[in-house]
Symmetry: C2
Subunit: 208 residues, 2 copies
Amino acid sequence: MTSDTTTEGGRRLSPGQRHEQLVAVGVEIVTTSPLDQLTADAVAERAGVSKGLVFHYFPSIRDLQAAVLRAAMEELLRALDPDPQLDPSERLKGGVAAFVRYIDQQPANYVTLSRSAGADHRLHEVFEEARERVTDLITAGIGIPDPPDGLRLALRGWIAMTEEVVLEWLIDRQVPTEQLVDYLHDALFALAAPVHHLAPAVEFPDPG
Amino acid sequence: MTSDTTTEGGRRLSPGQRHEQLVAVGVEIVTTSPLDQLTADAVAERAGVSKGLVFHYFPSIRDLQAAVLRAAMEELLRALDPDPQLDPSERLKGGVAAFVRYIDQQPANYVTLSRSAGADHRLHEVFEEARERVTDLITAGIGIPDPPDGLRLALRGWIAMTEEVVLEWLIDRQVPTEQLVDYLHDALFALAAPVHHLAPAVEFPDPG
């Protein structure tokens, strides 16, 4: 990674560094405007490089958007679990609160994204991977790192419920944020009772 | 509705009847092939009319697809609540079972639809209306016909969970259908405990 391929943008960067810089610039841009309107022009201008250079790293605008979405998802996933030392209930509540905060900061973007993701397989894959990793976070958190399929199924359901409830809540915010977070937290533990239909041997920890 | 405008298709039909016939033919076609591949040609051929006549009733293919989706949704909604005389728990279980059966019969279609609906506002509206009406069905079923916003929010969450769990279940069907239905039924009643965070005064009936 020491070969400088370009001096555009006022800095000599290796291909890896340049790739990372362009994605970071894209992530910055989409905090204030929708991802599906992200253009190579906007990234080139803010990074101080040519449009051609952006296309050299991202052959199509969809490739660029998918890379930016993936980077934004990584950021979100880190925010969801800041302290693995907490007990499962506190970790879960912190994670739900971080999710609500994240969407609250850029609601239009999340709504657009989660809807348009269905129609584009690259965006869809990023969402799918994020949901799988949230499932892993939860199963690790409740002390069942190698969960049966039925438990994963139930957790995917809870994640879908959480996304939907937060997106619907954004429309008019009739309920205080704290109540919303408490509901989603308690809902996961409430599902511990019926989950035996899907995964007979599983025991959830007490919400504490 | 007595003015016959055409004799195409071997029958003299009023505009209302013709519209209904074309939609019904579309619904037939999409039981075996994806809605997003539905064409005016296919509908014209099966209805025995000209393609021009199809476009007379549906100016764009998206209009035709949205009308067909709406008709299919009406069919599904009727199937979800065949007997309002049953008690809330039996009605809910019957509704969930009907939903699983419906998707089970044409899984590829439902998956494609629910994903592509995000990108097309007409399809999205049909899904949204269906979800609102399922919410109404449930609130009427549990004896809370004029629910507070917080309860509607919780029910929209359960509906999203149900859609996700059934779609994920379709991938490998690791759990018997009956367990799946029991889980989703019991999950709704399990959410009665935490729902006080969103709707303090609401009381769910006992699952019985």
